[in-house]
Amino acid sequence: MKDTYYNREDLKLFGNVTDFQKELGEKFFDYYGSVFKDGALSKREKSLIALAVAHAIQCPYCIDAYTSDSLKQGYDEEQMMEAVHVAAAIRGGASLVHGVQMMNQVKEKLM
């Protein structure tokens, strides 16, 4: 067993998930490849979205992968950090907006 749950080297082995379930794995990677092609959004724009999402879902593999890809796509440090702030704002907002639920409950329960 490895000492940590996450191992950077495992990212290179991502494609091996098809070993246990070929059909679904291959469908996923086909889909994944199609998603990141130029479309209504450019692959460059998609890379920065992926970087933000990687931070929102806190996936270490995705953060490594899309930090590299964002650099490759020519984004600068400020642009990349602003994308992370978008993720942070949405996550923070997602918590805070539940405050309304809390307030509603409070109003129901208090005299």
Partner: protein
Amino acid sequence: MNASSLLKRHHTLANPEAQIEVLDNADALGILSFAHKMETFGLFPLRPTGIDILQVNVGKMCNQVCKHCHVDAGPDRKEIMTRETMEQCLAAIKTSEITTVDLTGGAPEMNPHFRWFVEEIVALGKRIIVRCNLTIILANPKYHDLPEFFKKHKVNVVSSLPYFSARRTNAQRGEGVFEKSIQALKMLNTVGYGQENTDLQLDLVYNPSGAFLPGDQQGLENEFKAKLWDGYGIRFNSLFTITNLPVSRFLEYLVHSGNYETYMQELVNAFNPTAAANVMCRNTISVGWDGYLYDCDFNQMLDLKVSEKNHISQFDLDLLNTREIILNQHCYGCTAGAGSSCGGAIT
């Protein structure tokens, strides 16, 4: 990492043999030799398609000490092409099918015979490229008229600007380089370079400021054009994306920063057979400051000379056209992704 050449620092990697030793250790990384890789695609031995471009390195002297420089150029480098060697280059150009002469360095403008050489090349009716680092224009009053000189001889100016922000450019090329580069670009724009309705071609070179590959050339060109126009009112014609090859100071950076293995793996994983068929060494001959001949500027820095009649004074077009191009592990840099050449992506 110090801001001086490997040679000045007496660094091991100043020696081309030491660089090749690092590169040849590919088995330890589990990397197939580049020659074997090419063989699997029917590209070994690799032969020229015809010599269209003569790239001449007129000296290693430079006013900058960029961290990624594959020439190991700098102010302390005194190797300069003599006028006699330039005359031998001109003689070779006259007897060949060469259409383009590409002058590089160091800062080629620092060679005392530079202007004479440009005039002689232009007189032969050849297209001429000068790889100008931009800051040389401001380095000394004697260089301030370079934009006018370039304009007079319709030189295609190709200039490195690794990024459209100061932080990343200066981190790679030295403190204050971005600001001076912007000033020099404005001077070139003022005389007509990069402007619509002129034939004065100003191209920029983007190379990554670290251990990663360049992205899509067209996408980056669009981004550079928008940022340089919006931020500084600067225009240029094309952006060339160039991959950093693991040679000289970039190799030092990779080893020193612990990125060497990962970077080599990335180059290998991105091998593109289409790019491999279009590599620049197939239509280029590179001349060193001392007149020796190489398949490309990178082989020049690794001292991998062409095998026979390897001096410009012995220029033999037929022999060069049928030669076997010398390959090594650094060649993976030219075949990765969209491919890389001195003219940018090759696919």
